[in-house]
């Protein structure tokens, strides 16, 4: 059963969590979305220039999901996601410099060059990655929630996954544990319609939607339009409240869209999706344009303010490229660091017996 309980369910701006926002906060949300997009546009440019290795999965088009969700986080709320993780990383407050440097594989990167695009982490910001194995993070998300409950903290874990990830067994095992043990975890399915080149219809058996599988575990679920920041916040807030006050899980499915291919290496991005489909979303559902328009209508910002915010975001992204370019690569000595905590910390345990065998 879907669960929308605002007075006028269509008027998400009126939801308490949104009406409580002041101009500064609303503007900051715009700025964060713009920062994510500018960061990724810069990343795309230099990835194509051969400055980076591996994969680059862009979040462009989905920004309102991570920004909206993270904007609801309090001290004891945590986030974990998959490999399409730049948006969540910047939203929780990671710096563009460390993130861009990580893409460059530099030692100044957030993972000192060891993780790359798919593996941004910031435990100090309650951000637990950045995970490359589809749905592999879903039991971890349940574990974060389990730890909060075990410690008696009022918080929740938001665990993001894609529409294709719901077909991994680990997700179902995690759902059962969350439902059975009353874990304060929120599974956020970012449904951008495709898992690589495979549409939702070709990868999943479902009746009405994907979140509905939660019924089988007696878990409340909801559907959200991901292009509307107000809606994302209003509906996700209910899930956060449920986690905080009832220690119960929620599954939300957020309709969204990625403008680029699955990763930049995706040769078929325009084959399995019609150009019309892509254009239509860009023109009518771009979460940044819609939020910008909204704030202008509300008189919160002027077009000029918005342009400045965007310019600042672009400048920050360019500066992060410069930072990454100037930074050093890790050295061969760094290869065997961060394998074992006990070794890194020079403890007796780390010095007893042979740990490395090359």
């Amino acid at each position: 059963m879907a669960t929308t309980e605002t007075a006028d369910p269509t008027n998400f701006a009126a939801a308490p969590v949104n009406s409580a926002l002041d101009a500064g906060q609303k503007t900051k949300l715009l700025s964060e979305m713009m920062r994510i997009r500018r960061f990724e546009q810069a990343a795309l440019k230099y990835y194509n220039a051969g400055k980076m290795g591996g994969f680059l999965h862009l979040y462009i088009g989905q920004e309102a999901v991570a920004v909206g969700a993270v904007s609801l986080m309090g001290e004891n709320d945590h986030v974990i996601t998959a490999y399409r993780d730049h948006g969540h990383a910047l939203a929780v407050g990671m710096g563009m410099n460390e993130c861009m440097a990580e893409l460059y594989g530099k030692v100044t990167g957030c993972s000192q060059g060891k993780g790359g695009s798919m593996h941004f982490f910031a435990p100090d910001k309650n951000y637990w990655g950045g995970h490359g194995i589809v749905a592999g993070q879903t039991p971890l998300g349940a574990g974060l929630a389990f730890a909060l409950k075990y410690k008696g903290l009022k918080g929740c874990a938001m665990c993001f996954l894609g529409d294709g990830a719901i077909n991994q067994g680990a997700y179902h095992e995690a759902l059962n544990l969350a439902g059975l043990w009353d874990l304060p975890v929120i599974y956020v399915i970012e449904n951008n319609g495709y898992s690589m080149g495979t549409s939702q219809k070709r990868s999943s058996a479902f009746k009405n939607c994907l979140a509905e599988r939660a019924d089988g575990y007696d878990i409340v679920w909801d559907l959200i339009n991901g292009h509307d920041l107000y809606e994302v916040r209003a509906k996700l807030e209910q899930a956060v409240e449920r986690a905080h006050n009832e220690s119960r899980p929620t599954v939300v499915e957020i309709a969204t869209y990625r403008y680029y291919g699955h990763s930049v290496a995706d040769a078929n991005a325009k084959k399995y999706r019609t150009p019309d489909e892509i254009e239509n979303y860009k023109n009518n559902f771009d979460p940044i344009n819609l939020w910008r328009k909204r704030l202008v209508e509300e008189g919160v910002v002027t077009e000029e303010n918005a342009d400045e915010i965007d310019k600042a975001a672009k400048a920050e992204a360019d500066a992060s490229v410069e930072f990454a370019e100037q930074s050093e690569f890790p050295t061969e000595e760094d290869i065997t660091k961060h394998v074992y905590w006990e070794v890194d910390n020079g403890t007796d345990a780390g010095n007893t017996g042979k740990h490395f065998f090359h």
Partner: protein
């Protein structure tokens, strides 16, 4: 000295660590209300309650993954696999999330989790329940693998494993659970408790003619063979129990071989790329000039585990196999 069965020694380790650190909890199938399929956790649920001992559904990937996530947040999960063979349904969590997240984050987190359970054949439970994946998990940097042969080692290594800040996979043996061994009372110990570091081998029998190197229950098989070798062939075998597969105490192994000039590795796993292959390759590389004969290996006969009780006996390493190898050297 006081003797305890292996399973009780483990239980004491859990009980003491549950007492010492409120972040330690035990989770697995039937570990709480049922007292453990093999009674290793008997009485602990009654004593420590629902928060510290948790029965899990049959979802190894789910609950071990949950434990890994919880360990990143500072909890210290001790996860039971009813059989270690069931690790294969949780393989991604155990090989990727537990072993690589510290690395991929540049050291921003660590996973102090213990995954434990019996990894052995010999009770005729068939091919799917008899895996010995010490080599498989040992292959992955970031993981630690322990396989104790005695009650004493089981207790001391388990306490260390729980306190270790890296993931430790602790492989026990259903045929050892009932075997009694000396385990001192804490009161009789200098530090008031039994702690054995990982990565330290134990010479369980001194000898001069050949080094029988092993881990887990095969250590007992090696000791049995050593007795016979001495009694019937006047060959003095040294028995080296590596105890922990990774980290590995190469020094003790090499010192023994430099003394005896002959080595046999005994393990229950299938031969191809087993721990014995790693140790043999290490010995010939680092003690080449000391070897009077090639390093030999004894393993299970190379097929999936045979159900039939008398035949599984023949399939598993037994002293006759060891003696034959030694006499042929």
């Amino acid at each position: 000295m006081r003797t305890l069965p292996y399973r009780h020694a483990l239980r004491e380790a859990f009980d003491e660590e549950l007492e010492r650190d409120p972040n330690v909890f035990i989770m697995g199938e039937e570990v709480a209300e049922y007292n453990g399929a093999y009674k290793v956790t008997e009485g602990l649920w009654k004593k420590w309650g629902d928060k510290r001992l948790i029965d899990a559904p049959i979802s190894e990937a789910g609950f071990i993954g949950l434990g890994i996530g919880a360990s990143m947040m500072g909890l210290r999960p001790v996860m039971e696999l009813m059989f270690f063979s069931f690790a294969y349904v949780a393989m991604d969590q155990m090989m990727n999330n537990a072993a690589t997240c510290r690395y991929m984050s540049g050291g921003l987190l660590n996973c102090p989790i213990v995954v434990r359970g019996p990894a052995n054949g010999g009770t005729n439970v068939g091919a799917t329940h008899s895996h010995c994946p010490e080599n498989i998990f040992g292959n992955m940097p970031g993981l630690k693998v322990v396989s104790p042969a005695t009650a004493y080692d089981a207790k001391g290594l388990m306490k260390t494993a729980i306190r270790d800040n890296d993931p430790v996979y602790f492989m026990e043996n259903t045929l050892l659970y009932g075997i009694e061994g000396e385990v001192p009372e804490n009161a009789d110990l200098p530090d008031g408790e039994l702690i054995i570091p990982l990565g330290v081998a134990d010479v369980k029998r001194e000898g001069t003619d050949v080094s029988l190197i092993a881990h887990g229950r095969c250590v007992l098989t090696a000791l049995e063979a050593a007795e016979q070798l001495e009694a019937e062939h006047n060959i003095k075998a040294e028995v080296v129990d590596i105890r922990s597969v990774r980290p590995l105490d190469e020094e003790t192994i090499l010192n023994s071989v430099k003394k005896t000039n002959r080595a046999v590795y005994i393990e229950e796993n299938k031969p191809f790329c087993g721990v014995g292959a790693q140790v043999a390759s290490t010995i010939q590389e680092k003690a080449f000039d000391y070897l009077d004969a090639p390093v030999m290996r004894v393993t299970s006969i190379d097929s999936p585990a045979f159900y039939s009780p008398p035949v599984e006996k023949m399939q598993l390493p037994h002293s006759a196999m060891i003696i034959e190898k030694v006499l042929a050297m």
